[in-house]
């Protein structure tokens, strides 16, 4: 369906004062070129100046049958006839033909011998381009200035070669005078084209089964159009080896297809996109012809479309012919002007009844089909409009190129961040303009140039009749020289289109009138989308222009002809205005989606985001009329939910927050708890919300998060009794589940991943003092359910300003719950250092001067030992070491926890050794820790020595516990000799003697009598050892 909007795409119209009847018209480089019918004269008029004054007039060498302007190189290319022979020619430096009587140089392609015309100044030159076949159609690449010529069964590609004239002039004229002349003239006017052009034939495409009628060339894309077929190819340069194979391949395939010709097939309607286009039965092979061209080319199929003649009713078979083939590049706003590769490429072609637009880059896809109301003669695609002419009218359709460009430019489109109307949005027709006898149309920027002739004769009719009559020339008597401008039935109109922004403004007004009568209609949304795309087109256009202006000095000279495609928009509209309009339009689109049906309602979010409106503004836009029963749309609720669930820094005012609670209580009560938990809602009025929650609880069943939410409100009302009452309604475990369901009851922030800081809620603060165990358990549960990171939880406890207390309790609780090894190791280390800190702190200050009377830990050392596997039971010998000292209970607690960790299976002792170095060994508890460490690290020998030095009464307990299994030999290898040595030194030491005795008992149990004998020291009293030797021998005998 084509929408028709009564918008005015045309601003003004003027008539070009042309002396002779125009036969052909083309435009480019700011100029309009008019070829007189059957004549050999081209007149160029300035499209950039008021009244389109004549720029110059020049003669052609033959009768022009076709003419094109190339913006790169500023040359014209013509197909001409003289004496029934057809020629292809390029006219360069035509702007220098100011006086008609100056000489025109002529040279053959490739015969670039002259430099600057010796006659002084730049001279117009014609390049004769010889061809072996008759040229039918030509096209110039708007990016490179290359030339594509369609002949009967071939396409010939010529590359444009430019030679800097300054270089040449220095070669040819060695006088320093002339070269400085050149320099200064170059500096004066940047619009002078000082490079000399030539062409080089580089590739021939052989299309044995296609008869080109029109061709197009743009950035490596080659399009050919026959009567009812369109083929788009892509020519790319590739590495040498690869193509050699490929090109021989294509030749082969071309050959074998040749063999099976002579089938008469009735053409079917066919559309083949991308690679599939190679399945069309049209073989193409390429032949490289460039002499110095070392590049290799490869060819790929991009698009094929075939229409069957009977496919379209309403047009006779003869009339059903394709026309207006166009390849159209579009640069996105973030592409630099010098980028040779446009971000988007479009292909357009047209039947009399319908036009077809395809996007070729990023996957070939059909974009729009234009159903014409009347038979269309010609069509021209531009950035934001498609212009078509029928016999009696000029009409515009909107195009979707901006939608494609936007998506290529911005990967966030089609996410919750940003949106853009779809590329396949139905096109619309704008107001048409009536004319009589339209013949042809061409477009330069905002100027649409129309040729009309009242007389119905087909323009090329005279030449046909000439051909039929052989060579008979039509002589005209001089007396018939009466071209009265008044009586002629032809005209050239220059119709100026309005800028996309102006058109946008009209659409915007139109939509406002429309919405008043019918706010829900799909057409209103279509209109807004249409306006949106016009704005995007303007934005692209504007940034291109800004770049154009910025890059002017650096631009290569041949780019100068590439005049601004549309210069009114920059003059009238500022970037600010455009951005403003864009936000306005996004807001309207947001409104449309927020109120619309369920379908696509999610688009309200990105459009509102792009509108820059605040949530309160959006809420007021969505406030229903007090009179209407109309409720809140799904899109609006979607937007609100996203806003409230996402982390924002914005805190809403009480009114706004209350309104949101009201909205959700009306539309989606199940969301109320999470709505209330949003940080943005912290100013919500607690009593009103409490009432609403209570009412909800009465109707629905009781839920834990709901109770907690209510408790939060009560807390804000400072009603502690009711708070306590509410919190006691559920077991702690249930409350923990409630927090897992809605973590934001406890903490805000942190939605953005690892490094975002979290803040405790008022409820958290309350819990920290009244139910710390619950808070810790909840945080552990959140961590274990991946709702919070360890660092974030740490941060939360720091915020609660009870560092080293609840935080440590949290770590201890985490150790109990966690099963992640990395987390466990981290926690073990942190806890060890905390315990060491506590020990050293209470060590330096006496326990009496301790400033903060510390809250008791949630878990005592005994609790941890009994419930947490990472805390080991204290080794029995440790009790003998700690008995001697008296410290504070906190100190004792820290010591036991640390000892327990050291006795446990998980702590890696190596990691805490550096921390322990801070502790002195002077105190017995300090010594005990160091001893634990050395023991845990397996240094039993030194442990035994140290223990004998500091606390020999513990040695047997130590040895009994530690020297087992593979360490058993240490009894006799280390302990026995040590004891013997020490008792010899102090024979009266009863502790040592007792230890020695105990040791001998163990040794006697473990060894053979012979071994035992070996161990007895030479100087020892035999009587002392004898009983043990006896025991040993007896045990041994019994065993045997």
């Amino acid at each position: 369906m084509v929408h028709v909007y009564n918008c005015h795409p045309f601003a003004s119209q003027q008539i070009v004062q042309v002396g002779q009847e125009p036969g052909l018209v083309c435009c480019g480089g700011g100029a309009l070129f008019v070829v007189a019918t059957g004549g050999c004269k081209v007149e160029s008029y300035s499209l950039e100046r008021e009244g389109c004054p004549l720029i110059c007039r020049f003669a052609t060498m033959g009768t022009v049958k076709s003419i094109q302007h190339s913006k790169i190189g500023d040359y014209l290319v013509t197909i001409e006839e003289k004496n029934s022979a057809t020629y292809l020619r390029a006219y360069t430096n035509w702007r220098y033909q100011a006086e008609e009587k100056s000489r025109v140089g002529v040279r053959l392609l490739g015969h670039l011998l002259r430099g600057a015309s010796v006659g002084g100044g730049v001279q117009m030159e014609i390049i004769e381009i010889p061809l072996s076949e008759r040229p039918v159609a030509v096209a110039c690449c708007p990016i490179t200035g290359d030339l594509l010529v369609g002949c009967e069964n071939t396409l010939v590609l010529f590359t444009l070669k430019t030679q800097n004239q300054q270089n040449l002039s220095q070669q040819n004229l060695q006088s320093s005078w002339s070269s400085t002349q050149q320099n200064s003239s170059q500096g004066q006017t940047s619009s002078q084209h000082l490079s000399i052009l030539d062409f080089e034939r580089c590739v021939i495409f052989h299309l044995p089964k296609m008869t080109p009628k029109q061709v197009a060339l743009c950035g490596g894309y080659v399009a050919v159009q026959a009567e009812l077929e369109v083929l788009v190819l892509k020519l790319e340069t590739v590495s040498e080896l690869k193509t050699l194979e490929e090109s021989s391949d294509t030749n082969k395939s071309a050959d074998c297809v040749d063999e099976q010709i002579d089938f008469l097939l009735i053409p079917r309607h066919q559309e083949l996109l991308g690679d599939r286009a190679k399945d069309c039965d049209l073989p193409v092979s390429i032949e490289k012809t460039g002499l110095e061209d070392r590049r290799q080319y490869s060819l790929s199929y991009v698009l094929f479309r075939r229409f069957s003649p009977e496919f379209f009713q309403g047009c006779s078979v003869e009339e059903t012919q394709l026309h207006s083939l166009q390849l159209y590049p579009l640069y996105t706003s973030n592409q630099s002007v010098s980028a040779d590769d446009p971000a988007c490429m479009f292909c357009f072609f047209s039947l009399p009844t319908a036009g077809y637009l395809y996007s070729l880059k990023g996957g070939v896809e059909p974009l729009s089909t234009y159903q014409y109301p009347e038979k269309v003669l010609e069509a021209v695609l531009t950035d934001h409009l498609l212009h078509v002419i029928t016999k009696s009218a000029l009409q515009c359709f909107t195009v979707r190129c901006a939608a494609v460009a936007a998506r290529i430019e911005d990967p966030y489109i089609d996410t919750t961040m940003r949106a853009c109307p779809p590329g396949n949005l139905e096109v619309c027709a704008l107001r048409m303009q009536l004319f009589i006898g339209l013949r042809s149309v061409c477009v330069y920027g905002r100027h649409v140039i129309l040729l009309s002739t009242a007389d119905t004769e087909v323009p090329d009719e005279p030449e046909r009749s000439t051909q039929r009559r052989g060579l008979g020339r039509k002589w005209t008597m001089s007396s018939a020289k009466e071209t009265s401008p008044a009586g002629h039935g032809w005209n050239i109109y220059v119709v100026d289109t309005v800028s996309p922004f102006t058109l946008y403004q009209e659409m915007d007004e139109y939509s406002q009138r429309y919405v008043e009568t019918n706010p829900q209609a799909q057409s209103h949304r279509h209109l807004l989308s249409e306006a949106h795309l016009l704005l995007r087109a303007s934005l692209v256009q504007m940034s291109r222009q800004q770049q154009d202006r910025g890059g002017e000095a650096a631009a290569p000279p041949q780019r100068d002809a590439d005049g601004p495609p549309d210069n009114d928009c920059s003059a009238e509209t500022t970037r600010q205005e455009l951005d403003e309009a864009f936000r306005h339009n996004c807001a309207l689109l947001g409104d449309s989606f927020s109120r619309g049906s369920q379908k696509d309602c999610h688009l309200a979010l990105p459009y509102y985001r792009m509108s820059g409106l605040s949530i309160t503004e959006i809420m007021s836009r969505n406030r229903p009329h007090p009179s209407s029963p109309h409720s809140f749309g799904p899109g609006f609720l979607f937007y609100l939910k996203h806003f409230l669930l996402e982390e924002t820094d914005q805190t809403l005012s009480q009114e706004a927050a209350d309104e949101i609670v009201h909205i959700f209580s009306q539309s989606e009560p199940s969301m109320l708890v999470s709505v209330c938990a949003s940080p943005a809602m912290s100013h919500v009025s607690p009593d009103r919300t409490l009432q609403i929650l209570q009412r909800l609880e009465d109707t629905a069943s009781v839920s834990v998060p709901m109770t907690i939410a209510m408790a939060t409100m009560v807390l804000r009302l400072d009603d502690l009794p009711q708070y306590t009452q509410l919190m006691e309604r559920h077991a702690e475990m249930m409350l923990v589940y409630g927090f897992i369901e809605e973590p934001r009851l406890l903490l805000h922030g942190g939605g953005g991943g690892h490094n975002t800081h979290v803040r405790p809620t008022a409820l958290s603060r309350q819990l920290a003092s009244s139910q710390p165990g619950l808070l810790v358990a909840a945080m552990v549960a959140l961590h274990e359910n991946n709702k919070v990171q360890l660092e974030q939880a740490d941060h939360l406890f720091k915020e609660l300003s009870c560092a080293n207390s609840l935080q440590v309790d949290f770590w201890e609780a985490m150790l109990m719950a966690s099963s992640q090894d990395a987390v466990i190791q981290e926690l073990l280390f942190r806890l060890s250092s905390v315990y060491i800190d506590r020990l050293t702190n209470s060590d330096t200050h006496s326990s009496l001067t301790q400033t903060t009377p510390r809250r008791r830990s949630l878990k005592s050392a005994d609790d941890l030992i009994s419930s947490c596997s990472h805390y080991g039971a204290l080794y029995p010998w440790l009790t003998l070491l700690s008995a001697a000292h008296t410290t504070s209970p906190q100190h004792q607690e820290a010591l036991h926890k640390l000892q327990s960790l050291l006795c446990g299976p998980s702590l890696s002792v190596g990691s805490v050794v550096p921390l322990l170095e801070r502790l002195s060994e002077e105190t017995m508890w300090g010594f005990s820790l160091h001893l634990l460490c050395t023991t845990r690290r397996g240094q039993y020998g030194s442990s035994i020595e140290k223990l004998l030095d500091r606390c020999p009464q513990a040695i047997i307990a130590f040895a009994n516990h530690q020297l087992q299994d593979e360490h058993m030999p240490l009894w006799w290898q280390k302990l026995l000799p040590e004891l013997c040595k020490r008792t010899r030194a102090s024979p009266d030491n009863s502790i040592l003697l007792a230890a020695l005795k105990e040791t001998l008992v163990v040794v006697a149990m473990e060894m053979s009598p012979a071994e035992f004998l070996e161990l007895i020291p030479d100087d020892g009293a035999a009587s002392y050892f004898l009983p043990h030797l006896m025991t040993c021998t007896q045990r041994h005998l019994l065993a045997n």
């Binding site: 059957g38 003289k82 020629y87 011998l113």
Partner: protein
């Protein structure tokens, strides 16, 4: 009512320095410049005129006479409707070369019936006192070669220049009325181009 004008291509051939460019300038702009630059390759100018009631656009092609420019000028002989063979009356060698110019033209222009092709001979620099070629000699050459019209011109003082061009036009028109004098080929064939760089031109 539109006016149909016919385009006639007239080419000036002759040795370098005989005054071809001066003749063209005199005819089109009615000026004479004693310090004209040498012509390089080929240039042309259009001039509208009326001969015997016929409206005609004369496309006058000026060429460089020097041997080294041969490859630049010969491709453009084709399609000529008339050839003006020019010499200078004060330069006998330029007169002797007329035959060579005629041969070169007929060869490269691919004229089907050379004996019927309209040549006009111009003896220029009539104003110079030291003549090397006499009127009689020139007239005789014209007679023997195909009864070509002969004009003695001076670009310097404008003698006979316009008359000569008008005669050229008349010759062409006369040819045209008599017969369809040549069957044109459909394409430009440039196979005699010495540097045949392209494969498609064979």
């Amino acid at each position: 009512m539109t006016t149909k004008t016919s385009l006639l291509k007239v080419i000036l051939l002759g040795d370098g320095g005989v005054g071809k460019s001066s003749i063209m300038n005199r005819y089109v702009t009615n000026k004479f410049d004693a310090h004209l630059f040498h012509t390089i390759g080929v240039e042309f100018l259009n001039k509208d005129l009326e001969v015997d009631g016929h409206q005609v656009t004369l496309q006058i092609w000026d060429t460089a006479g020097q041997e080294r420019f041969r490859s630049l000028r010969t491709p453009f002989y084709r399609g000529s409707d008339c050839c003006l063979l020019t010499f200078s009356v004060d330069d006998n060698q330029s007169f002797l070369n007329l035959g060579n110019w005629k041969k070169e033209f007929i060869y490269y222009a691919d004229v089907k019936e050379p004996e019927k092709f309209p040549f006009v001979v111009l003896g220029n620099k009539l104003d110079v006192t030291e003549r090397q070629v006499s009127s009689e000699e020139a007239q005789q050459w014209c007679q023997e070669n195909g009864d070509y019209p002969y004009y003695e011109t001076s670009a310097k003082d404008a003698t006979n220049v316009a008359v000569a061009f008008e005669e050229a036009v008349r010759r062409v028109l006369a040819m045209d009325e008599r017969t369809d004098h040549l069957i044109p080929t459909d394409t430009v064939k440039l196979h005699r181009k010495p540097r045949s760089a392209t494969t498609c031109c064979s």
